[in-house]
């Protein structure tokens, strides 16, 4: 399928700039990567509300905490790898335990990080931050969802981590997209199997649903940006009424969105579930399409996973 594409990091930069005009006490804290993550747009317009700490993410998080204590709304923005686990203990104690109103934006999340290889990719940030008791984790799928989630972030109370991609990426939603905190949304109804997505693999889910439909399989697609708190009610509904699930995430299949869904299922309606994501290995430098293929994230693989889930569901029914 040919998608219209738009740059994810441009959406990040432009939305920060837009919010700067609306939220006077919003600050952006950079750790050197303003050009890459496009927070430079905010910096150019609001230099007095930009704080550049250099390549020092632990200090970035601490400074953000202090500023939040003084009533400001700090956005700490850098690559997901450095924004999350480089400062993981600072996030755990000073942000999460202390329930600080800090917004941490992890750009270049997942494996699509401009072909820069494993050191710039981040496949275990959700796992690390999701297990912090007060943390909210949101993943984003396209430019419109990024914009909506960042607007929501201003109003959010408490620790918040947002995953954002980097590259030109399929545009799924439009200007009217509304982010519903903690809620998944049906993008396509389907009663045989449901593809549950969080993040940028969404086009693969939609394409896979078409593939399956052509085979006579009625595949639904749900988009669920909020990884934590996870939409327990919707997952239970899907488990009860559909009975077969495939999760999609641009993250290790351990500990991330798939893990969160599995935790819900196993305690309520343990139905067959398959996971699309990075299969507990590191990635490498390559164009996005090649990486997506190497890690079996694309529509044919999603469709295959759906067939596996469906087969297991039918076995159970016998």
């Amino acid at each position: 399928m040919e998608w219209q594409k738009s740059s994810l990091r441009e959406a990040l930069g432009k939305t920060l700039l837009e919010l700067g005009g609306k939220v006077p006490n919003m600050l952006v804290i950079n750790a050197d990567l303003r050009n890459s993550v496009k927070s430079i747009y905010f910096m150019n317009e609001y230099p007095e509300r930009t704080i550049e700490v250099g390549i020092a993410e632990q200090n970035m998080i601490g400074v953000a905490v202090g500023l939040s204590m003084m009533g400001f709304i700090p956005f700490a923005v850098t690559f997901a790898r450095f924004a999350s686990k480089r400062a993981a203990d600072q996030i755990s104690l000073s942000v999460d335990y202390c329930r600080s109103n800090v917004r941490i934006v992890g750009a270049y999340a997942g494996i699509f990080a401009g072909a820069q290889g494993a050191s710039q990719q981040m496949i275990d940030d959700t796992a690390a931050l999701r297990s912090m008791p007060n943390m909210t984790v949101i993943d984003t799928a396209d430019v419109h969802e990024i914009r909506a989630v960042l607007h929501y972030a201003v109003e959010h109370e408490g620790p918040l981590y947002i995953r954002i991609g980097r590259d030109m990426w399929p545009v799924i939603f439009d200007e009217n997209y509304e982010f519903r905190f903690g809620k998944g949304t049906w993008l396509r109804e389907g009663g045989d199997v449901v593809l549950l997505n969080s993040g940028v693999l969404l086009p693969y889910a939609l394409e896979a649903a078409d593939v399956l439909s052509a085979e006579g399989i009625d595949a639904g697609v749900i988009n669920m940006p909020t990884v934590k708190p996870i939409d327990v009610d919707l997952i239970n509904d899907v488990a009860r009424n559909v009975g077969a699930i495939v999760t999609l995430e641009n993250h290790n299949i351990l500990g991330g969105f798939g893990g969160a869904v599995a935790e819900v299922l196993v305690e309520n309606y343990p139905v067959p579930m398959e996971r699309i994501g990075i299969r507990d290995e590191y990635s490498e430098s390559a164009p996005n399409d090649d990486l997506a293929e190497r890690h079996e994230l694309t529509a044919p693989h999603v469709a295959a996973a759906a067939r596996r889930a469906l087969k297991r569901k039918h076995k159970l029914a016998l």
């Binding site: 700490v53 200090n59 601490g62 400074v63 905490v65 202090g66 500023l67 204590m69 104690l93 202390c98």
Partner: protein, 299 residues
């Protein structure tokens, strides 16, 4: 001899010996409460609490702008005890200052207490930031200082670190940034007691020369005998008058200060205060209180 200095609100006054002795008297009361608490509870960080008594008492009785009625008063100075394991000493000072009930000290480290083993902002409103994972406090103090200046408020931001704590890289990230932002409303105090967690600092990667490190990072650095009330008050005064850069006070303290068998003993980072040891410590402290009894008027 009395020396003219200013208080936190800029008023000139003479720090005379009477006032110094009054503060010393409070310090001994605090020491007594620390020992009583450790003895009662049966555990706790004795050494790291005793070394910082003079620092905390001078801050809470003479320096910090606080509202005893309202821990969250918006114009208060912010103090972060980055070495969160000095908790017993901190709670004892709050108790003497009348900010928490002295009776509450007995609840230290028991289920449901506000007095957690490391100072904790979720439990106790006087605490600005939960600490104890060392190295994090100075960055937050810097953020507070930045925020205060943005608000146009003359709030000052204070951070007390341990000497061993400055082995953490995060401290130097904060130090570098604070100098860049010319954060003259930020004061760091380092409790240099020369011991850490059961060993002397000498066995660790070297922190010395310590003052030149801070100066090289762009800070104004002051070295004082850290259990000397007068020297500390003079240093706070000096720090308030430094413009365009943050100040660090390197307080050369004595770990376990005021209890002879604990002083400079690596084994007294923490430990059980038995009945016998408590009696010995109490008699030493009582003797000093007796000697200072003419000065027991400080409110």
């Amino acid at each position: 001899m009395a020396k003219a200095i200013t208080d936190r609100d800029g008023n000139h006054y003479f720090l005379d010996q009477t006032e110094v002795n009054q503060i010393k008297y409070v310090c001994e009361l605090v020491r007594k409460d620390i020992l009583e608490t450790l003895h009662f509870v049966g555990r706790g960080h004795s050494g790291p609490s005793l070394s910082i008594v003079e620092i905390l008492v001078t801050l809470y009785f003479k320096e910090l702008r606080i509202n005893p009625e309202d821990p969250k008063w918006s114009d208060r100075d912010r103090f972060i005890l980055s070495k969160g394991h000095g908790a017993v000493g901190y709670y004892a000072v709050l108790a003497q200052r009348g900010l928490i009930p002295r009776e509450e000290l007995k609840t230290f480290e028991t289920l449901g207490t506000r007095l957690q083993g490391s100072v904790d902002s979720i439990w106790l409103p006087w605490v600005e930031l939960t600490t104890g994972s060392l190295g994090q406090g100075l960055s937050v103090s810097l953020g507070i200082a930045l925020g205060a200046k943005r608000l146009g408020n003359d709030i000052r931001s204070y951070c007390l670190l341990g000497d061993g704590e400055t082995q953490e890289g995060n401290v130097w990230e904060a130090a570098m940034a604070a100098a860049k932002f010319e954060q003259d409303n930020l004061l760091a105090i380092v409790d240099w007691n020369g011991l850490q967690g059961g060993v002397t600092l000498e066995v660790m990667p070297s922190l010395e020369p310590f003052l030149p490190k801070w100066e090289a990072f762009g800070w104004h650095a002051i070295e004082v005998p850290g259990n000397d009330v007068e020297a500390l008050l003079n240093a706070y005064h000096e720090a308030r008058h430094v413009k365009g850069k943050p100040t660090v006070i390197v307080a050369r303290t004595t770990k376990g200060k005021g209890v002879s068998y604990m002083e400079n003993k690596v084994e007294w980072h923490s430990g059980k205060v038995t009945d016998e040891l408590y009696e010995q410590a109490a008699s030493e402290i009582n003797a000093r209180l007796e000697a200072l009894s003419d000065y027991s008027v400080l409110k």
